[in-house]
């Protein structure tokens, strides 16, 4: 019996080691493509040049290119990708909805409206033509983020209320709520654009495309702190999420306070989405696609799904942004459009598979 027993444990340990390897490989790929992304552009730099520059040994041209332009852009891709994807994975779990993500539930659009309101009414976005890669700057990022968070949370709250009081709404039904909210906030944003002046209009429109180049170091630090705190909270609750995968009743019977976990998790998710949206604009579908790819590879175990989704989100955004910068260079394609091309087919696939209410789409 003990032999059989230790065989079971060995088998399971091997299975866990495989998940750790996937996590490690995703991390290495993310680092590799981050360096690759810093090497491509009008000024080509070798990996050695990049490493030297990062170590403080670069020449002036490399220093300017890396520290001023490419590093903040790559860091923005890493942080925003990780934020949207980990938020997507958690939303899919706590709402028991495989189609959930910040963009499909209208949270991003709510945040976008809030941010636009912040730009027009409180802070003001200006076109900064001196620096091509950071064409749009937001004068007062905190008020814009706050407004984005407030309106992102309005969407979140409506989604939570509807999912609680209309339990038979189903995954696709909840996404229809997201569609309604997106239209509502989209309409609000259009009205703001209609009544604002040309400069601010340009700012809002350009910014709603999603642009990783608009983030500066100050914003990246805010994003890093928010992301770190949220990931710590998510990881502390990884066993609760695992339990919630088996349904609310089972989770409760395992000692999980499902209501408070859902409310706090969704608040963190809207905070992350709001910060992402207010700093780099709307980037759709990453929060949907990255967790689903990783569910296929590491399963629904949140011990591994959360970190691997975050890494996969970063990797996806780095790839999409690098592709967008290099395919028709020197024109930079808006990253929001590229992620939508990637995400929409996946979304439709999940929608068709939705009848089975199955996360991995099997």
């Amino acid at each position: 019996m003990s032999n059989i027993t230790s065989e079971q444990i060995d088998l399971y340990n091997r299975y866990i080691r495989r998940k750790r390897w996937i996590l490690f490989v995703t991390f290495i790929l993310m680092i590799f493509f981050a360096l690759f992304a810093m090497s491509v552009g009008s000024i080509r730099l070798s990996f050695l040049d990049i490493l030297k520059t990062l170590a403080g040994q670069g020449d002036q041209l490399s220093n300017t290119t890396i520290w001023q332009i490419r590093l903040p852009r790559v860091l923005a891709a890493i942080l925003v990708g990780a934020a949207l994807s980990s938020a997507g994975a958690v939303m899919q779990c706590v709402l028991r909805n495989p189609l959930a993500s910040a963009s499909t539930l209208g949270v991003s659009q709510g945040a976008a409206f809030g941010a636009a309101l912040g730009i027009v009414v409180f802070g003001g976005g200006v076109v900064n033509s001196a620096n091509a890669t950071s064409a749009i700057t937001i004068n007062n990022p905190y008020i814009v983020t706050l407004c984005a968070f407030v309106f992102g949370s309005v969407s979140t709250l409506i989604v939570i209320i509807i999912s609680r009081f209309k339990r038979n709404i189903g995954p696709a039904g909840l996404v229809l709520v997201g569609v309604a909210l997106s239209s509502l906030f989209g309409g609000g944003s259009t009205l703001l654009q209609y009544f604002t002046d040309d400069t601010k209009l340009g700012a809002i429109v350009f910014w709603t495309f999603g642009n990783l180049g608009s983030a500066n170091y100050k914003e990246l630090i805010v994003m890093f702190i928010a992301l770190s705190l949220t990931i710590v909270y998510f990881m502390l609750n990884r066993w609760n999420y695992n339990a919630m995968e088996s349904g609310a009743d089972t989770a409760k019977s395992l000692g999980v306070n499902t209501r408070s976990i859902m409310l706090v998790s969704m608040t963190f998710c809207s905070l992350l989405s709001a910060i992402a949206v207010s700093f780099v604009g709307i980037i759709s579908f990453v929060g949907l696609v990255a967790p689903h790819i990783m569910r296929r590879l590491v399963g629904n175990d949140y011990r591994y799904l959360l970190p691997s989704s975050a890494l996969a989100g970063s990797l996806l955004l780095i790839l999409a942004d690098t592709f967008g910068r290099s395919i028709v260079a020197p024109v930079i394609l808006p990253i929001g459009a590229l992620t939508a091309f990637l995400g929409a087919p996946m979304f439709l696939f999940l929608l068709f598979k939705g009848g089975e209410n199955n996360y991995s789409g099997k």
């Binding site: 066993w239 349904g247 089972t250 395992l254 000692g255 629904n300 175990d301 099997k362």
Partner: protein
């Protein structure tokens, strides 16, 4: 306007006993089970587990004492090992320990699930999946095991298989088992106490002697005949 699902319900279960909760659909059998481990909450009264008030226990402590298997388990696409490991959730502080892995592994062995260790639970048959859910509940090392219709989706062989396991577990591990079941013949074969619910109240509560054609007739609203076969009661419906 709200109505009370259950009123004036009072009963005890001793360790090693198997209590069948019986009654018509909608009478509140599942709700009763859910009230015991606070999935639903009671408006008045109290529930004691091993002398301690269940409604004053921390979630984690309650889950270490009471395990529950719901009527329909949601498809979580997890492996058998991971699903049973979830039963250790009330004991996990930061991460699982070697002891947790050992308990899960022993349960896999005990329940005859060895060849399915890394199989996705959703790919198993109804009977096998039900045994996995039982194993998950047992990983909680509970004093009380609540089972909501554990045999409802199983074929005849698996119904007996699962109930035999439950019966043995109750006796060997000194667990109090309360199960909701619709098949009265299965109930009288495997359970030793019977709680009959009618109109939100307890109709009768006791041993096999409480199962009579009158009590069943009154609770279910049908005529039945109870015959003895090999010293065991057998319930036959006259409504045909």
């Amino acid at each position: 306007m709200s109505t009370n699902v259950l009123e004036d319900v009072s009963f005890t279960i001793e360790p090693g006993q198997c209590l069948a909760v019986l009654g018509n659909n909608g009478v509140g059998k599942s709700t009763l089970l859910k009230c015991i481990n606070r999935i639903c909450s009671i408006q008045a009264g109290s529930i004691y587990i091993d002398g301690k008030d269940a409604y004053k226990m921390k979630n984690k402590i309650l889950a270490q004492n009471v395990a529950y298997v719901s009527q329909k388990s949601e498809n979580s696409n997890m492996t058998v090992f991971d699903t049973i490991l979830l039963g250790r959730k009330p004991y996990i502080d930061w991460d699982i320990t070697a002891e947790d892995r050992q308990i899960v592994s022993d349960l896999i062995d005990q329940m005859g699930l060895n060849e399915y260790t890394l199989r996705d639970v959703s790919t198993l048959s109804g009977g096998e999946a039900q045994i996995v859910m039982l194993a998950r509940a047992l990983a909680q090392q509970p004093k009380v095991l609540l089972l909501d219709e554990p045999t409802s989706n199983l074929d005849l062989r698996n119904q007996h298989e699962v109930l035999k396991i439950i019966r043995n577990l109750a006796e060997t591990n000194e667990i109090c088992v309360a199960l909701v079941i619709h098949d009265l013949n299965l109930a009288i074969q495997y359970c030793d106490r019977f709680l009959l619910l009618k109109d939100a109240n307890v109709y009768s509560n006791g041993g096999i002697e409480t199962i009579t054609s009158e009590s069943i007739g009154s609770v279910y609203g049908i005529e039945v005949e109870i015959i003895e076969h090999k010293n065991k009661k057998l319930i036959i419906s006259n409504n045909y």
